[in-house]
């Protein structure tokens, strides 16, 4: 009755429609990957960690050894000796910097009196439209879905997926992210939404609230996810417009996401405290 080609065309159309429907459903949930995310994390995150560790080693070698060799015009013995010492020194410098970062994280952790776990960033999202990170701590270390991730500079995001040893973190700059926030000076309340391109929007800011460029934005703790009083960013742009009950407020995050190496996962968020 129907030709083979006709059946094929109909099958392709049905498949296309089903595909669009499935994609529409999963678009409404940022954590829609489920088990697939765990498989992907298991299969790739250890290698990601290996690459980041190896590249760190190569970088330190490059900075310490090769630069030295190219600049020194001394005899072979001294050059070798200096090179060895410089390499060693570079290692100490790296350790010193790491120590500094860790000390800053520790001071921050103690100051906040929250139960936190330090984690290393091993990978980032390859897609330009979404913003996530992979960290090297998972359910084995007590990391669970929904836990906030912070650094001394401010809030990074929250865990959306966790395998036994790795976890995926949704950054506050992702457009699926929303944080209940306050303007620190005026206590004007709103919701910080990610814009996707690296910036954030202070949504639902009442037109009557006085918000000016440079004001600090902190978490309110009312969303039950992020602890109260954590810095998020500063107001970068205010546009009251001519109508409407809300004003448009742009926020520049205080965290430089591209340079994140270590983060803290808050194990027991004390929302509102």
């Amino acid at each position: 009755m129907f030709s083979r080609r006709m059946v094929l065309v109909v099958a392709v159309l049905v498949l296309l429609l089903l595909n669009i429907a499935a994609l529409t459903v999963s678009s409404s949930r940022p954590d829609s990957a489920g088990g697939a995310a765990k498989i992907a994390l298991h299969m790739t995150a250890p290698f990601q960690k290996g690459i980041s560790v190896s590249l760190g080693w190569v970088r330190s070698l490059w900075n310490g050894y090769f630069k030295l060799v190219s600049t020194a015009e001394e005899n072979g013995h001294l050059r070798l000796e200096v090179s060895r010492l410089r390499e060693q020194l570079n290692g100490y410098h790296e350790l010193k910097r790491l120590n500094g970062r860790m000390r800053s994280l520790l001071t921050f952790k103690e100051a906040k009196a929250l139960n936190m776990v330090a984690a290393e960033v091993t990978g980032t999202d390859a897609s330009p439209w979404y913003r996530t990170l992979i960290i090297d701590k998972g359910t084995d270390h007590g990391v669970a879905k929904g836990q906030p991730v912070v650094v001394p500079d401010g809030i990074v995001g929250q865990v959306i997926e966790a395998s036994s040893r790795y976890a995926k973190v949704l950054l506050i700059t992702d457009r699926n992210s929303a944080v209940d926030v306050l303007v620190q000076d005026t206590r004007a309340r709103g919701v910080l939404q990610g814009g996707g391109a690296g910036e954030c929007q202070f949504a639902y800011a009442n037109r009557n609230d006085t918000i000016v460029v440079g004001q600090r934005i902190v978490s309110s703790g009312l969303d039950g996810v992020f602890p109260k009083g954590f810095l998020i960013g500063t107001v970068s742009d205010v546009n009251k417009g001519v109508s409407g009950i809300f004003q448009k407020v742009g926020v520049t995050p205080s965290v430089t996401f591209e340079k994140l190496e270590e983060v803290l996962v808050v194990m027991t968020p004390k929302a509102g405290s």
Binding site: L23, S27, A37, T124, S127
Partner: protein
């Protein structure tokens, strides 16, 4: 064996995009996996190629913060389109590879725009996504064929090396 080999290439490219490039630091200029999909579609057609594409899509979707299915959808339809194009046009040329890479980047951006609009993205975000798509197409047009050549040559070298090792081992058995 071929499925495992091609999937390993996908994992390697995923690692380059998610761990290597951010360390430089640099964001991928376009999705390198599109080139891998084109390569798989042309050199491993049929069910085997389909399995590789599915695995690649699942891994990419699992690691990304995008809605699950964005990459599977993009890679599957690109793979399917190339298979159809080969069957209908009976062409296997450099221009087909070039067009396929551009088509792949276009499909991926189109699917991303679809998911963004479905999830209620505002006009600014959609415009930004379109702009990103244009930039990706540009970079894909410039670098895509180079990445494809590197992929082909890399695999050819690996195959030669592997065959040499197997021959050497077989020779050793006889002694």
């Amino acid at each position: 064996m071929a499925v495992v080999g091609y999937t390993l290439i996908s994992i390697l490219l995923i690692l380059v995009q998610t761990a290597f490039l951010p360390q430089i630091p640099m964001r991928p200029l376009f999705d390198l996996l599109v080139v891998q999909v084109v390569f798989t579609a042309l050199s491993l057609p049929g069910v085997k190629g389909g399995v590789v594409i599915l695995m690649t899509g699942v891994l990419a979707d699992g690691l990304s913060g995008s809605p699950f299915g964005l990459y599977i959808t993009s890679y599957f339809w690109l793979f399917f389109s190339i298979q159809i194009a080969i069957q209908i046009l009976h062409v296997y040329s450099r221009s087909l590879i070039y067009l396929a890479i551009l088509a792949g980047i276009f499909i991926e951006n189109f699917v991303a725009l679809l998911t963004l609009s479905v999830s209620g993205a505002n006009t600014d975000t959609l415009l930004w996504a379109v702009e990103r798509g244009g930039v990706q197409l540009l970079w894909g047009g410039i670098l895509g064929p180079c990445v494809y050549t590197i992929l082909v040559e890399g695999i050819r070298c690996a195959r030669v090396g592997l065959q040499g090792t197997v021959r050497h081992l077989k020779g050793g058995e006889g002694v």
